[in-house]
């Protein structure tokens, strides 16, 4: 049964009538056209579908719309909040941390969530926090460098 679900999406109020059991991933992509969030495995193993819910990195493929009601969702399209680029996005470019780019949005958002909780992570803290985000192209080393650079730039807010 369809229900009205209100939540905040990329800083704006969102209101939608959908089946409450649908996944956030599917609704973001299909109903809101926010295709930066990707399907990779559908079971929360790979992290390609990572979004921020109340500033925490969450797998949108296993999150239902019911669970999202009243929450604050940020996708890759909304990360910079109207500015050009978030420091993480800049750092990913600077370090060539993308190859095919399919896992990139999820990587950037997982890194955002990490830096919010721990603004000065060590390399092993980065590895631990990011370990469930998979990149088949193998850009791991560059992604770690990008996160370190962004952390440096974001120092002091």
């Amino acid at each position: 049964m369809e229900e009205d679900i209100q939540f905040s999406l990329n800083g704006k109020k969102a209101n939608i009538s959908v089946e409450g059991g649908r996944s956030l991933l599917s609704v973001l992509r299909k109903e809101f056209g926010l295709t930066g969030t990707k399907y990779g495995c559908g079971e929360g193993h790979c992290g390609a579908c990572t979004v921020l819910i109340d500033n925490k990195a969450i797998r949108s493929c296993t999150r239902t719309m019911e669970e999202v009601a009243g929450r604050e969702v940020i996708t890759i399209e909304g990360l910079a909040g109207g500015k050009d680029l978030h420091p993480l996005q800049k750092a990913f470019i600077k370090h060539d941390a993308t190859q095919c780019g399919f896992c990139t949005p999820g990587m950037v958002l997982a890194a955002y969530s990490l830096l919010r909780e721990n603004p000065t992570p060590t390399e092993s803290e980065i590895i631990y926090a990011m370990d469930d985000n998979l990149c088949r192209c193998g850009s791991y080393k560059r992604i770690i460098q990008a996160i370190q650079t962004a952390a440096e730039e974001m120092k002091g807010g």
Partner: protein
């Protein structure tokens, strides 16, 4: 300006009529280039395709001064979108930012077989350079006519033509192209290109040109294309590759509001405007199957392959193996095994298709847009020129996106429903339909003389194919026999097999360089000196030495207990030497790769930054292929369904990787995407053996397998 009217006659897939072509390409200066190099053509034909003989590169300089390169190569992360643009910008004397790459659009780009085999820079790059050099000559000629001066006075720089005798004068390229349509159609050998010593864009480390759209989520992949009225399809899949549907009851599925159920021959699908509803409808389809299963699994597959190996193809034969055997002081026989591995790109196979009145539009996660075009045309009964495959980003290929069943399915369903259709594989479907790297067996036999020189080498390769299988060492008596190809034509495997990043070479180099290490141990010589002693190829020696210098380890006779290993190869002209340091937990058998050094000589390097990325990435990918990746199956049923049971390298498994790029600009550019990864199985096998003192003859070297050989001693 010959061949001015030949565009519509161009074969090999470029079948637009002239009016459409002019409309699509607009005005400006266009240069088409013919690759006439017999060797190159022969190699490409050898790859299994009728490569066109007319042209395979063209570019346009528009009125706005922008330069567009049209290529049916595709970008899947490997970075040719940047390196090809660098080659073009260099030769045409424009900034890199003035170049637009149009890739993989079958209506705009000349025919190309597929983006595979680390071939884009090697084969597409040279004609592109010549096309650009010719365009520059045209611009100078036009400027000379417009200024009424001798063209010898003029030169190009940063998108303008300048006059040596009038330093204030400059004419932008765009101005010269204005209101004109000039076509040049060239043959090989007519154009001179710049010497690398004059390069300022090519050869310089350059960041990817497509990162911006990727980091903001705007890069469009096939699944990101949404068309009005589009339906999401979920297709009935058999439980096994050997299963046949005997009955499918779709009555319950049809009751779901808005669901469209299609049953056409082998294709049973549920479609809906909402993806979850399509899934729900699929779940309501009750099917019965007949499953004549072969008794095959991960355990008995190798025996089965050996029993069913077809007649061989001799890869190399020199000297006489029997007399080699007689002269040998030591002979060693080994049998190396390699399991099926999946491509496991993070983007699953995905396609969107729309069948309109007289045109089929396709967006596909493919490495081979023209193959997609012909298979869609065949399936729908359309002429190929009425099928247009549009360019999209591809979320990782690694060889796996050269087969695109999903695109044909989307096209068939679009035709049957009269609406645009998306087919996006679930991860389970992705594992099921993947064309796995074939399981393979290599039977190796070789011997040493008293001085520690390899005297004979006798290899039998079963189902890995021939690539990289010729010995790199100086061996008087050698023979390599390959039985069964590595490209999946065999019906022998219980499911699809195909090319996996460095096809065949992964298995071959694993066996060859493991056997080499075993011989070094038997000779009582350290693995580096042993290789140096047996190499005569100076280029390979230089690469090996460069890796050793960077690695900074003084090798001793193995097994040394230190966990270090070496492997080298010649991958289609690119030379690689890799060294690794590992740590093995002797209690649980777990391997930690601590450091990898990789030296690579790929001839002239176009983008050193991109090359490093490819080498690092290939190594990261190949580490899990060597340590943990193994597709589980029973008969034609694929038991591996998702990443929880298929462990690919993650952050914690990626070691420090030091890359050494060998300076060899005098050699034409070779390939880069695949070579490094093909050494990883061997280098880790050798390092693990060096650490624990026992050898594993089977990849992947899982924790359990390592633990088992440690316990056995």
């Amino acid at each position: 300006m010959k061949d001015n009217n030949n565009v519509q006659e161009a074969r090999g897939g470029f079948l637009l009529n002239r009016r459409d072509f002019i409309k699509l390409t607009g005005s400006g200066i266009l240069v088409f280039f013919t690759v006439g190099d017999i060797d190159v053509l022969a190699q490409q034909r050898g790859f299994g395709s009728d490569y066109p003989t007319d042209f395979n590169a063209y570019l346009r300089i528009g009125e706005d001064g922008r330069v567009t390169c049209f290529s049916a190569k595709i970008e899947m992360g490997q970075g040719v979108i940047t390196s090809l643009a660098q080659m073009l910008a260099e030769e045409l004397d424009v900034e890199l930012t003035s170049v637009d790459m149009v890739m993989g659009d079958t209506s705009l780009c000349p025919y190309d077989f597929a983006t595979v085999g680390s071939r884009s820079t090697k084969y597409f790059g040279p004609p592109l350079r010549k096309a650009a050099a010719e365009a520059r000559a045209v611009l100078i000629q036009l400027a000379a006519e417009s200024l009424n001066v001798n063209p010898d006075r003029l030169y190009s720089e940063n998108g303008v033509i300048r006059d040596r005798e009038d330093p204030g004068m400059k004419i932008p390229y765009g101005q010269l192209a204005k209101g004109k349509r000039i076509e040049r159609h060239l043959k090989e050998g007519e154009v001179a290109i710049k010497h690398y010593s004059r390069h300022r864009i090519s050869g310089k480390a350059t960041l990817r040109t497509d990162s911006m759209e990727k980091v903001i989520g705007k890069a469009k992949f096939a699944g990101d294309i949404s068309l009005p009225g589009m339906l999401y399809a979920r297709i009935l899949r058999p439980p096994s590759h050997s299963a046949r549907v005997t009955k499918a009851d779709v009555s319950a599925a049809k009751k779901i509001t808005g669901a469209i159920i299609i049953e056409e021959k082998d294709l049973v699908a549920a479609l809906h405007e909402i993806p979850e509803e399509a899934e729900k409808a699929l779940g309501q389809i009750k099917a019965e199957y007949e499953i004549p299963e072969k008794d095959l699994d991960n355990k008995n597959i190798f025996e089965y392959l050996e029993k069913n190996a077809p007649q061989g193809q001799m890869v190399t034969q020199k000297g006489d193996i029997d007399s080699g055997r007689k002269q040998a002081a030591v002979s060693i026989k080994s049998r190396f095994l390699n399991h099926y591995v999946a491509h496991a790109a993070i983007e699953t196979h995905t396609a969107v298709a729309a069948v309109e009145k007289d045109e089929v539009k396709i967006w596909s996660s493919t490495q081979s847009p023209f193959m997609v075009r012909s298979s869609v045309a065949r399936a729908l009964g359309f002429p190929p020129e009425k099928v247009r495959v549009f360019p999209v980003h591809v979320g990782g290929g690694f060889g796996g996106k050269t087969t695109n069943l999903e695109t044909v399915e989307a096209a068939r369903l679009a035709k049957l429903t009269g609406r645009p259709v998306q087919v996006a594989y679930t991860r389970k479907e992705e594992f099921f339909y993947d064309a796995f790297r074939p399981a393979a067996v290599v039977k190796a036999e070789s011997g040493l003389d008293k001085e520690g020189k390899i005297i004979y080498w006798n290899f039998e390769i079963l189902f890995a194919g021939t690539r990289s299988s010729e010995p790199i060492y100086d061996i008087p008596h050698q023979q390599v026999l390959a039985m069964g190809g590595g490209f999946g034509q065999e019906s022998i495997h219980p499911f699809n097999t195909g090319a996996w990043r460095g096809p065949g070479s992964n298995t071959n180099v694993y066996a060859m360089e493991s056997q080499t290490d075993i011989m070094a141990q038997a000779a009582g010589i350290d693995p580096l000196s042993f290789r140096m002693k047996n190499l005569v190829d100076e280029r390979m020696k230089r690469v090996l030495k460069a890796a050793a210098d960077k690695f900074g380890h003084s090798f001793t006779k193995g097994p040394s207990g230190k966990g270090v290993g070496i492997a080298c190869t010649d991958y289609l002209g690119t030379y690689v030497a890799t060294m690794a340091k590992v740590k093995v937990d002797k209690e649980n058998g777990g391997v930690r790769v601590e450091r990898i050094v990789c030296a690579q000589d790929m001839g002239e390097i176009i983008n050193p930054q991109g090359a490093m990325l490819q080498i690092e990435g290939g190594i990261a990918m190949a580490i899990s292929a060597a340590l943990s990746e193994e597709v589980r199956f029973r008969g034609g049923s694929v038991l591996t369904e998702n990443f929880d049971s298929y462990d690919i390298t993650r952050f914690s498994g990626a070691p420090q990787i030091d890359v050494v790029l060998i300076d060899n600009n005098d050699m034409a550019p070779q390939g880069c995407g695949e070579p490094a990864c093909t050494t990883v199985g061997a280098v880790l096998a050798n390092a693990v053996c060096d650490a624990i003192g026992v050898r594993l003859y089977e990849l992947p070297m899982t924790q359990e397998r390592i633990k088992k050989v440690i316990m056995k001693g």
